[in-house]
Symmetry: C2
Subunit: 304 residues, 2 copies
């Protein structure tokens, strides 16, 4: 599938995550929004990773990412330590607390893209400051598909730059709480309508274990999550979802409503795998056959 | 559709509900689990309503129910007042508080079924004491499909009789919180597996605005809810859902997995209408065309 696929550029964080769940704990596993997205998308298309790490970033992790057909020429290495995040999930794994956050080299991240990366037709702006998302997006020559994530922190502290960005976004990805916060509407359908008025071509509302809803001016698509008997660690599920989704669009050139729907199902499939182990561990052994098998299971799960 | 449909008997409550939502308030609208179920099911099949009301129950409401092809010969009238419930919904309408509960004539409800009702092949045991559900189920001659609802109160206070009932239940309907409580498992898929071990042939977990999941030993079916821009009042949505579901099975004679899945979609459609107005008001004007139109919209909402 990847031979004819369009390249994707992702800008976001690369981090080490320390994660506590009700079941177990993992120290400093490879994480970050751009990492999770890039690895998932790499099953479908070549990916340029635009991010920053410290001098502590191990060669073995570089090798792993490179082995996934991810171009690391945009992965800046700076004096200092890589971004660290420590979080703890509640018994209800939809809820988590951030215990510690060390931006480290990420604090001064102002990427300047290479000529090669600027040509990427497909862009994913992972969850970073909207001003940074804007300054990165400006550098692309002529992107044909721009997808964008955000979070409560930016909606709160950088609403103006976020709203200024949205008219240039084809697909805004956010969770239901963020949709409520951005729109001021409690009802998710009304929230999504309001957000569409801010300019993005479509809005995908992620609802964790409950699935997702895609809103565009002409239609709505609702899809459940893949039910799992064990959710080991939800970290990175949202970015992995976006990676599968955008990856499928890059691989197929699809931009139709039907194509976007299938892309969302691929995103659902990738996300259903990543939560089976800590951080992105599960994707280190995931095969294309695994993806296709679960896609077929998802069809069987939902058809009527 | 109703000419060849099998009759359904429902046992449960008939009540007057006083409802406060963040938007509005309604005084003493016709409610109760058996009422909501019966009205929804009546779009598909003849229904025997087994319940009790007080002498205050208005002739106009009897006429309305009778006009819906609901047999009221099992609707006992006793000295005293009809069951009253008062509840208030939070801004997040998934959460509600019971402000007042007056069982009134319902406190001594011990139905003895007529010969006619005992022949009904399809039985819905709405949310009442499991001991009462058991004593009613005993009276049926040879039911071919038994569906059953329950709630946190009975799981807490009458677990033994509830567990004794489950092996005779074909379809147990409960919400995700109840599934967790009954099984002791936080994860909904694992909770449903545990509950299946207690004996019901299948378990339908309702998740309100997030949809529903059907678990049976051989398969899982996940379905979103119909997204609405305004949920006016969720009261009765669960029983209306069950009414549409069981009604469709009664109308078609379907017992296959595919039939059960389509039945769940009809339940979803009926529930999506009932929340558009207070109590069961919306169903007073609902037509078969409305139902078929939204069924087609639901197909368009979910297909990929």
């Amino acid at each position: 599938m990847t031979l004819t696929a369009s390249p994707i550029a992702v800008v976001g964080s690369v981090a080490f995550d320390t994660i506590e769940t009700p079941i177990a704990r993992a120290e400093e596993v490879l994480g970050g929004s751009a990492t999770h997205f890039a690895v998932a998308a790499s099953y479908f298309a070549p990916v340029h990773l635009v991010a920053v790490v410290g001098e502590d970033f191990p060669e073995a992790e570089r090798d792993y990412l490179a082995s996934r057909n991810i171009d690391l020429s945009g992965l800046e290495v700076r004096a200092g330590r890589t971004f660290r995040w420590t979080g703890r999930y509640h018994e209800d794994m939809n809820v988590r607390d951030t215990l510690d956050l060390q931006l480290n080299v990420f604090a001064d991240f102002h990427p300047s893209l290479s000529q090669d990366v600027r040509q990427a037709p497909i862009v994913f702006l992972a969850n970073i400051d909207p001003r940074l998302q804007d300054s990165v997006l400006e550098q692309f020559a002529d992107p044909t598909l721009v997808a964008c994530d955000t979070m409560n922190h930016w909606i709160d502290s950088a609403r103006e730059p976020l709203e200024a960005l949205l008219p240039r976004v084809d697909l805004l990805v956010l969770n239901d709480e963020e949709a409520r916060q951005l729109s001021g509407e409690q009802n998710v359908s009304r929230a999504a309508r309001r957000i569409l008025e801010l300019g993005p071509r479509s809005v995908l509302v992620k609802r964790g274990e409950y699935g997702a809803i895609l809103f565009s001016p002409e239609s709505v698509f609702a899809v459940p999550a893949f039910p799992l008997e064990e959710v080991f660690d939800p970290t990175g599920a949202g970015d992995t979802f976006a990676g599968g989704l955008v990856g499928y669009l890059a691989a197929t050139g699809e931009r139709s409503e039907g194509g976007l729907r299938r892309a969302i199902v691929y995103g659902t499939v990738l996300a259903s795998y990543v939560v089976e182990d800590f951080g992105g561990q599960r994707l280190r052994t995931l095969t294309h056959d695994d993806i296709e098998r679960r896609y077929r299971q998802f069809v069987a799960l939902t058809e009527f």
